[in-house]
Amino acid sequence: MTIQETKDQVIQEFSQFTDWEDKYRHLIQMGKALPVFPSGFQTDDYKVNGCQSQVWLKADLDGNRVVFLADSDAFIVKGLVALLLRIYSGQTPADILAFPPDFLKEIGLDQHLSQNRTNGLAAMVKKIKTYAIGYQMVLQRSGKG
């Protein structure tokens, strides 16, 4: 699925919720459904700064695509990371870098993108993009980019 198709699917999925409770319930479930994050990587190296709760984000290259793993000790934040991963994980660095997180606004979760040091969603997006830049350079050097 392309990044755009995933985005459309996510927006469609969230449009069924009429009140915030159902939306948050869904978000919490998305967090709980994230693949287990290897506990050995719950270190400062993988920590996303700027979050009130702890968030870890790890990225690996699979072919020419970046695959992310993430975790958080807070459920809503973990749901927000899961949402980001659904959009960005498994995409090429170029697609990741070209795609802004404006879908959050369309599903009414953009208040979490504020610069306030509460949940660090903005910091997560930045870290995802930083990984993408890094792997883009790796791919270019190996002639696959």
């Binding site: 915030w20 409770e21 459920f75």
Partner: protein, 413 residues
């Protein structure tokens, strides 16, 4: 028309009308503002007073010969006189305007502590201090080769004073302790700590940022040597605070910031310094905030403060009782003597989750370490959620908080 004047009889419904922001909505729900320990809302009278200052009275204070400047000086300086009365200080010269509690502590650390600390000296604080009552001392001690000592606390969040006499040593140069904990709500027996410190000739600074909004604070009765608080937590504006210091101590301090207002004469060879309080107040002050603080104190003086405190204690008791019944909820800070602050954690959700859900419900609380990381470490938790009450909060708001917390168990459980 609402004048922002508190009524003679304590009525929460009437008082709420004095605070325009409290009538607002957040996320489509009537706001429940329970973040008063971070900053308090402002009464109409304070907002109007500052508005009037900028519209009709704005001029720089001190040394102005024109009428506007003299009026601005009178208004600004009258706050000093109100604060003197509010804290029962002996003289107006004992009150220094700062930008807030943090600057007050930094001023004492930069002048008093640095002047007197020698290698091996100690400053004694408590285990529940805010970072702003830890870091300035650490900076001074690091520079001078001294060390910080800490009065421990028990798992209810009460200071353990049995060993205080061993902590007050011949090397202790200052005790700096909070009157009321911003995280735990504990009201500390500062008078007793001051008495014991004074028995050994050690001066004491009281961080009264959390206590002044709730409790009567009398610096002569406490006999503290320094006391600091912030305007914005006592229903006044941000950017203004007070450092109280006994006159003989303030007189002995070297200047803090150099600049205008703090000098007598300046030549390129030698500057002589102004008298107190101006010697410690360099530069154009936050005049509007200073005037606003005076209006906030006037508001508190019109209030039946004993009734306000009683009301806050009733809210605290009711919230404590109802929150204790919520499965998986654990209170952090259960001291026998507490102000209206409740920190808690829940088994079902992280404090960040709690804060986000409460926000959806229109309820403002603070979550995180509350600038007290050592307290978090002692309780072995990363963070807490904290509800803090002011006299304008209601029992209905306590009920909304409790209902929302039960909903959290349902959402995350």
């Amino acid at each position: 028309m609402n004048t922002g004047l508190a009524p003679a009889v304590f009525s929460v419904d009437q008082i709420r009308k004095d605070f325009p922001l409290l009538a607002g909505e957040i996320n489509g729900k009537p706001l429940v503002y329970l973040d008063n320990a971070a900053t308090a809302q402002k009464p109409e009278s304070v907002i109007r007073r500052m508005d009037r200052y900028y519209r009709q009275e704005n001029a720089n204070v001190h040394r102005g010969i024109h009428t506007l400047s003299q009026n601005a000086t009178t208004a600004y300086e009258s706050t000093r006189s109100q604060v003197r009365e509010f804290l029962n200080a002996r003289e107006e010269e004992e009150l220094i305007f700062t930008s807030g509690t943090t600057e007050g502590i930094n001023l004492v650390a930069a002048t008093f502590a640095r002047q007197m600390l020698k290698p091996g000296d100690e400053i004694l604080i408590s285990a529940m201090e805010h970072h702003s009552n830890i870091v300035p001392w650490q900076m001074a001690l690091e520079e001078k080769g001294g060390r910080l000592r800490v009065i421990p606390m028990n798992d209810r969040g009460e200071l353990i004073l049995e060993g205080l006499d061993q902590l007050l040593t011949g090397k202790t140069r200052l005790v700096a302790v909070s009157h009321m904990s911003n995280t735990l709500g504990t009201i500390n027996p500062v008078k007793e700590i001051i008495r014991q410190a004074h028995d050994r000739g050690i001066p004491v600074l009281v961080d009264a940022a959390q206590s002044v909004p709730h409790l009567p604070v009398d610096v002569q009765e406490l006999d503290c040597d320094f006391l600091v608080f912030s305007g914005h937590k006592v229903f006044g504006p941000t950017g203004i605070g007070i450092l109280y210091g006994k006159k003989e101590l303030l007189d002995s301090l070297p200047p803090y910031h150099g600049g205008g207002d703090m000098i007598k004469t300046v030549t390129f060879e030698k500057t002589t310094y102004n008298d107190l309080p101006f010697r410690l107040e360099a530069g154009t002050p936050n005049i509007a905030a200073g005037i606003g603080l005076g209006e906030a104190i006037a508001y508190l003086n019109r209030l039946d403060r004993a009734a306000a405190l009683k009301h806050e204690q009733e809210l605290l008791a009711e919230a404590t009782e109802k929150m204790t019944e919520i499965p998986g909820l654990r209170l952090i800070g259960t001291a026998a003597h507490k102000g209206s602050v409740i920190s808690f954690v829940m088994a079902s959700a992280h404090p960040a989750d709690i804060g986000m859900i409460l926000d959806q419900e229109g309820i403002a609380v603070r979550t995180g370490h509350h600038c007290t990381q050592p307290v978090m470490k002692q309780f072995n938790i990363p963070a807490t959620a904290r509800a803090s009450f002011a006299f304008y909060n209601t029992t209905e708001e306590v009920d909304r908080l409790v209902r929302a917390l039960r909903k959290i168990n349902d959402l995350f459980g």
